[in-house]
Each structure stands twice: as structure tokens, then as C-alpha cells.
């Protein structure tokens, strides 16, 4: 089990990335993520969330990725919860310090 804690503790200011064994497939409603290791499937129900997740590796922090994807401030909490869910299922993981 990953070391991530409850959603409120998801670290928006850390650097994240998609796990190596995860494949992403964009869909009209957002995207499908499939983890070849855990056999878990995640439905991302927003194209904006897809943009956030896709850009994690290129951004300094998850917060920066949300900003780059134009996530409105009022919705950040929803996105944080979504990212926490993805971290808990190992779809995304923290980047090692460069």
C-alpha cells in the first residue's frame, strides 16, 4: 500500500508523475487510466483533470499543473481529492527529488 494519507493530506506542492505502468487513453468525457501492475482502471471524468494528470511530470508541482490547466480556484479542492484518489491507487506517484 502506498504511503499516501487521507485526501486532505495530498501534497499539492510536491512533484508528481504518472506511474510507469500506467497507460492513458483520452475519452470524450475525460480519460481512462489503466495500471498494468494492479489491473485497476480509473475513469477521469473531466478533460481538465486529464490535462492536469498528463502534465504532472512536466510541472514543478501538482498545484502548478492545476494552474496550467486553468483549474478554477473554487474547484481546486475537487481536483485535490481526485489526485489523492489516484495516488492512493498508485496511478500517480511522487517524483524523486531531481
Amino acid at each position: 500500500m502506498p504511503a499516501e494519507g487521507p485526501p486532505e493530506q495530498f501534497d499539492l506542492d510536491a512533484a508528481w508523475q504518472l506511474a510507469a505502468q500506467v497507460k492513458v487513453r483520452p475519452e470524450r468525457f475525460g480519460a481512462l487510466l489503466y495500471h498494468f501492475g494492479t489491473r485497476q482502471l480509473s475513469f477521469l471524468k473531466s478533460r481538465t483533470l486529464l490535462a492536469v494528470v498528463s502534465s504532472l511530470a512536466a510541472q514543478q508541482s501538482a498545484r502548478a499543473a492545476c494552474a496550467a490547466a486553468d483549474v478554477p480556484a473554487g474547484e481546486l479542492a475537487s481536483y485535490r481529492r481526485a489526485l489523492a484518489t489516484l495516488a492512493a491507487s498508485q496511478m500517480i506517484c511522487k517524483r524523486e527529488a531531481a
Binding site: 497507460k23 470524450r28 468525457f29 481512462l32 475513469f43 483533470l49
Partner: protein, 400 residues
């Protein structure tokens, strides 16, 4: 600008997915066994089956469509001489494979080869925790063959394989025993629902669990089901209480579909019938065109009216049950599932005639296997009188 409201998945699917998620691909109708309930009526190879090159073309399409995973079965897929070549081809092209087998070709050597691959999952079919129960459905020696395959996989260090069971009246009492077998090999148990599909249509009446057994099954899943897979088979049981894990909906033509050995694309592997045929991978545009644009799938993706079931308190969970189960028992698709937990299906079946059930087609059963004998009791009655020529004299129709 707010992001669009995240619709429930059921509503998302009406717009169609770019590719199926749970795609079933039956590679051949040939099989070394003749299981009485075979959903694809398998046994004999079809002369029109896809060639190796055509199969690779399908895999290329699946790669382009970014299909994550294909579930390969049949018949018995490993009896195709090119099976291992196709397995390697799929892995090389980024398409994960889970194949279902009765174990006939899973030798120790084969098991070792499989253990080395990240892209392959294996599922061994077993329908009884004892040879007596299993072989009655799958044929003499099939239990031993399955267990030998499991032992070979376990010995080769392939711990992640699954044991897949079709639940029947005769094995529902063996759930704990099945779990024990899975535990013995350090693997995962998967149980699925018997559908009246293929040869299953002919044995459904006698093999499907009774209402009491369904309840027993549901309770067992709720209390033991944490590690048991179900392939979303039992969403029709959610009328008993809470939903079981899974999407809990019929994904035919929306999330799942079947590619059959001759390239026909059906909405669902349990619905191999012209009514659910969407197209063929040999048609121009291939599988991609069928998935994205076939008339049948477009129709299935429209929000489905629950019909007679909508007003039932259980509808939110059971969604009217399994389309294939309704179709092959002759029930209307906008009505209750034949195994509706409220009994609505049973009542509907009683009023519908048995003759309204469509014949499964096509049928690739072994000719020699034939049908199981239908028990007929010859009644011997003394004649009413030596002078009465009426064959029905004195006859009273038996009550049900």
C-alpha cells in the same frame, strides 16, 4: 468557466467509448471438451476462422485503438497452433492478454514461459470443487486436467492466475471449497453467472441456481467476497441489498463486446445471435469501424429505458439485469431478468411460453457429443376400456 459536471458513468457511455474496455475475443470454436453449458456452443473449428495474419491485423487495430487488455477464449484457444505466436504478438504491441483455458496445453514448460511475462494473465476454468461435480458438466478427466495445469503454473511461480467458476445449482454449495483450492495454489477465485446462452440454453432450467441459492450466493459474496472476482456477473443480485463491486451495469456494446472466431462482432459474448451482431472485422473499416459506428452499438449506447422495471425499488441497483439472460429465455428486454430477486422474472417466464425462447446460433458443438438426453418418463396406463380408441382417454395433464 466551470468544468462540466462529472456525469455518472452510465450517462457517459451513451456517447460511446473510444475503444472497448473489456473486450472478449474468442479465437476458435474448436475445443477438446464439450461442456454442457458452453456459452459459445463450441467443439468444432469453423472453416471460416480468422487466419494468423488476420488475427495480427486485429491486434494491430487494438493497439491503435489503445485497447488496454483483451480477454481471449474460445472454444479452447490454446488448440490453435498459432496461439503462442499471437500471444507474443499482442505483448509486443502493448496489448495485455488474459486467456481462459481448460488447461489442456498448460504443461510445465508452457507454465514456465508464461510465468516470465508481465502482459499475460491466465484463467483456468473449473466448475466443481470435486471431480464428481466438475466432470458432470465439463466431462470425464477435466477436473484432473485443470488441477494439473494449476499445479504447473504454481510450480513455475505464476501466482497470479485465476480460477474461474460458473456457478450452478450443483456447485453453489462448494463456494468455501473453491476458495480453499484457490488458497492452496495462492491464486484468486473468480465466480461468474450461468447464462442461458449457447448450449447453456438447453440446461439452464436444471442448472441455474434456485432463488434460495441465489440468496446464499449473495450473502457469501458480501461476507467473503473481498478477494473474489465476479466479472460484474451478479449485479442482478443487488436487489437484495447493496451493490457488489464492479460497474454494475450491462456493458454490451458500450463497454464490452465480443469478436468471434470468424471475425463477427457481437454486443456481448453471452449474446452470440444474429440479433446482436454488429458487423465483422473483415468489413471495410475493420473492428474500429464496427465499434465506433455500427448501427447496433449506436442503438445500445442510447440511454436505455427500464421499461417495466423502472418503478421497482431495486431498479437502481439491478438496472433490469442481464440482457442476454432475458433474450435467451424469451423474455422482453425491457422487463425483468429471469432470475430477478423479487421473483418478477419467474412470474414472467410462467406466463411466456417456452417456445418464445430464440434458438442459440451458430452452433459448433461436436456432433458426437450430441445433446444430453432429456429425461422422459414413459407412463404406462391400462386402457380405459378395450373399446375406447381415443388416445387421450382418461389422461389428465400433470400439474407443474
Amino acid at each position: 468557466m466551470t468544468t462540466t459536471t462529472a456525469l455518472p458513468l452510465v450517462e457517459q457511455f451513451q456517447y460511446g467509448l473510444a475503444a472497448p474496455i473489456c473486450l472478449t475475443w474468442e479465437l476458435t470454436y474448436a475445443c477438446n471438451l464439450s461442456c454442457v453449458h458452453c456459452l459459445s456452443s463450441s467443439g468444432r473449428r469453423d472453416p471460416g476462422e480468422l487466419s494468423t495474419a488476420e488475427c495480427k491485423a486485429v491486434i494491430d487495430e487494438l493497439e491503435r485503438m489503445q485497447v488496454f487488455y483483451v480477454n481471449i477464449g474460445g472454444g479452447e484457444p490454446t488448440v490453435r497452433p498459432d496461439f503462442w505466436e499471437l500471444l507474443d504478438y499482442a505483448a509486443e504491441h502493448g496489448v495485455g492478454v488474459k486467456f481462459s483455458t481448460n488447461g489442456v496445453k498448460i504443461t510445465a514448460d508452457v507454465a514456465r514461459r508464461l510465468a516470465g511475462s508481465d502482459y499475460v494473465d491466465v484463467q483456468i476454468s473449473l466448475d466443481g470443487a470435486t471431480a464428481a461435480v466438475n466432470d458432470a458438466v465439463r466431462g470425464a478427466g477435466s477436473y484432473a486436467m485443470a488441477l494439473r495445469a494449476m499445479q504447473n503454473l504454481a510450480d513455475a511461480g505464476f501466482a497470479g492466475f485465476k480460477i474461474s467458476v460458473v456457478i450452478t445449482r450443483h456447485n453453489v454449495g462448494q463456494l468455501d471449497a473453491f476458495q480453499a483450492i484457490a488458497d492452496r495454489f495462492g491464486t484468486q477465485l473468480r465466480i461468474t453467472r450461468l447464462r442461458p446462452s449457447g448450449r447453456g440454453a438447453g440446461v439452464w432450467d436444471e442448472l441455474h441456481p434456485t432463488a434460495a441459492q441465489q440468496r446464499q450466493l449473495y450473502d457469501w459474496l458480501v461476507s467473503h467476497g473481498g478477494n473474489v472476482l465476479t466479472g460484474d456477473s451478479f449485479f442482478h443480485l443487488s436487489g437484495y441489498g447493496g451493490s457488489l463491486p464492479g460497474l454494475n451495469l450491462c456493458g454490451a456494446g458500450r463497454v464490452v463486446c465480443l469478436i468471434d472466431p470468424v471475425g463477427d462482432v457481437y454486443a456481448c459474448p453471452f449474446a452470440i445471435h444474429p440479433s446482436f451482431l454488429a458487423g465483422n472485422v473483415r468489413d471495410s473499416g475493420g473492428f474500429t469501424r464496427v465499434w465506433q459506428h455500427s448501427g447496433l452499438f449506436t442503438e445500445l449506447r442510447r440511454p436505455q429505458a427500464g421499461g417495466a422495471c423502472e418503478s421497482c425499488s431495486a431498479f437502481d441497483g439491478c438496472r433490469g439485469g442481464c440482457m442476454a439472460a432475458k433474450f435467451f429465455t424469451g423474455l422482453p428486454l425491457d422487463g425483468p431478468d429471469p432470475e430477478c430477486v423479487k421473483g418478477h422474472g419467474e412470474r414472467a417466464l410462467a406466463t411466456a411460453g417456452a417456445s418464445s425462447a430464440p434458438r442459440p446460433s451458430p452452433d459448433h458443438s461436436h456432433r458426437s457429443a450430441g445433446r444430453r438426453p432429456v429425461p422422459i418418463t414413459l407412463a404406462r396406463r391400462p386402457p380405459v376400456s378395450a373399446c375406447n380408441a381415443d388416445p387421450l382417454a382418461g389422461f389428465t395433464a400433470p400439474g407443474r
